[in-house]
Symmetry: C2
Subunit: 417 residues, 2 copies
Amino acid sequence: MNAPKPQHPNSDVRMRGFMQRATVEQASTWIDAALPDFRLLPSETVSLFAAMGRVLAADVTSQVNVPGFARSMMDGFAVRSEQTYGATSYNPLPLKILGTCLPGKPFAGSVETGQAVRIMTGAPLPDGADAVIPVEHTEINGDSVLVLGEVSAGKHIGQVGEDIRAGEQIQPARRILRPQDLGVLSSIGVAEVTVIRRPRVRIVITGNELLPAGTPPSACRIPDANGPMLQGLVLRDGGLPLVREIVPDNPEALRAALHDDADVILVSGGSSVGQEDHVPRLLAEEGELGIHGIAMRPSSPAGMGRLNGRLVFLLPGNPVSCLCAYDFFAGRAIRALGGQSPDWPHRRVRMVLSRKLVSTVGRVDYARVQVRGTEAEPLAVSGASVLSSTTRADGFVIVPADSEGYPPGTEIEVLLY
Amino acid sequence: MNAPKPQHPNSDVRMRGFMQRATVEQASTWIDAALPDFRLLPSETVSLFAAMGRVLAADVTSQVNVPGFARSMMDGFAVRSEQTYGATSYNPLPLKILGTCLPGKPFAGSVETGQAVRIMTGAPLPDGADAVIPVEHTEINGDSVLVLGEVSAGKHIGQVGEDIRAGEQIQPARRILRPQDLGVLSSIGVAEVTVIRRPRVRIVITGNELLPAGTPPSACRIPDANGPMLQGLVLRDGGLPLVREIVPDNPEALRAALHDDADVILVSGGSSVGQEDHVPRLLAEEGELGIHGIAMRPSSPAGMGRLNGRLVFLLPGNPVSCLCAYDFFAGRAIRALGGQSPDWPHRRVRMVLSRKLVSTVGRVDYARVQVRGTEAEPLAVSGASVLSSTTRADGFVIVPADSEGYPPGTEIEVLLY
């Protein structure tokens, strides 16, 4: 079905209508209680170059010191510090230059009394030396360097383990890996990281009126909009979307789809209480229908349950309702299973309402708004202006169940798409 | 080289030091002027299921009306509206039920005087009918429906083109496609979208002290941290990173790498003025070295230029400097080439400094901070605490060149990683 059906034109079926709706809070609580302990969701190992944005499965502890060798922090000369004592620009002290020490190309010999080795930033300190005198405190005189100032032992040297010590925890489990985190992991010699497996999310699209996504609409059939949308939402939330062909709106095909191999199953369509809405009954027969019917708008015919240890979400076929039910419930579960925060992933901004926002006490409203400067303008959602409201909106406002809405000028929180 | 080298211990080479540094603003202006008109960057066609987050290359105009047929907005009965005139619960008017009209399954016949067709939300309106009477205003009596109220013509019907009209522009060029945008594209029969090609970014890593990313560090050589980091940054900015093996730090190999096929070339290492820093000279010889040396910290040895119509960025080998130079300059170009806003992609929040943040007049500072509640704590970046500062930081503050820094308690803007 392509839209919520609050009641059905058959009095027999009407008896099956939502006698009582769960609150949004009850539905969220049900999800949190039903979520398996995701430490049990297997982790997997991926290359550092495939780890961007993934979630660490375990703490990472460095096996090595960084730096792993004493290195110069300046361009200059590696010296024995006591050889510089008393040096000033009026009393330059000469040291014989033995050679050069470059990053990755250490000096083979040892620095002894009266000697120095030219050294560059990042190069390993040669044996015998205990300090670096920066180039700007020296002058060159033939094959000698004239030291124009004193340095103390350890000066301008990066010591072993100064940045990271062997045994130190450098990144905690659950960190979402950022570009610089990959750099740090590489620095300690980590080529592969153990990350939480992306939840595999089977997207089941059903509805006899539907054509495959992207097909030109025909006389009385419409292309599936929810498959591509849900695929994008699952990607946003770190899941691995599994999309297949449209499932025929019959109990046998839907029953089979509910048993597909996945961590989460999303069913779009057939979620309500009409005679063609098989999915709630099938889920109750095969597993558990935990919540069905929620006091919210849109998405009141949404539901959720579980089957064989996987979570199943029943999403209304109407695209706006589908988006809303996904964002309130399914996304929460997918993010949590993947080790991310279950909270809304949207950026929140405080804005001022440009017009009145009307809501009904007793249900949560998901009100799309357009952003105009610092003002949020509620979109008129008369009739089934489904498509236009989802493309034109910049974000949404969640109006709690105990609110009648807000007058113009109210400061509200907008969640940006 | 693995760190900025402000001067070189060879007086001959020292003469080649940065005599004058460009300002950050001059460097940004150079990029904006050098950016080829990216309408010339070829677009490409991708499947709707691969289009999440891509940038539309052209306006999308609907070829079809949505809905494409008059459809019911309610569950109820399709009727001729004049047949309901005078109907009330005290004066129920009977209409014979001819059949049922479901979404995707239209009723074949026509509704005539005295007749009705059971209809569900989303189903096409049968011929002859001009309104839908909702189920809650009816009762069933055998094979007839008793109409308990009036409906006017057009009531509860979604008209052709009510959501989207054929010929209407529904999404503008440069839109970054969101999940619901994919749904809307699908609804109008679009199976493939024309998007701006992702900029191909060749990441050239050079430095004789470097081991391949993720290799355990050896006695005096360190694993490359910048390759994985830059790859993540390029992905974040919508580019397609091309990473290959480390390029030997010699002019022949680097010259060849500068000619690699790509839209943007990033060179990490060898960017300064030392004798081993070949890249600025090679770029000047082969193309144009537009900017070299920038009044900022870190990243002062960064540079940029062009060669054969592609942009080349010279990034210091020090990982923090590399990150900073990428974010200030290379990222800006990559985002713009891909059709995105060139501005910083980071989320900005206003916070209060918990400690003094010191800066030097005459250069822009990129100061990493940790976020603690509503306070931003500047990270101590003594010595080369390179790795620790990039992992520990939550974001950064840009201190302009004319500022000496800020006292504790100052409200500043933090850009979050």
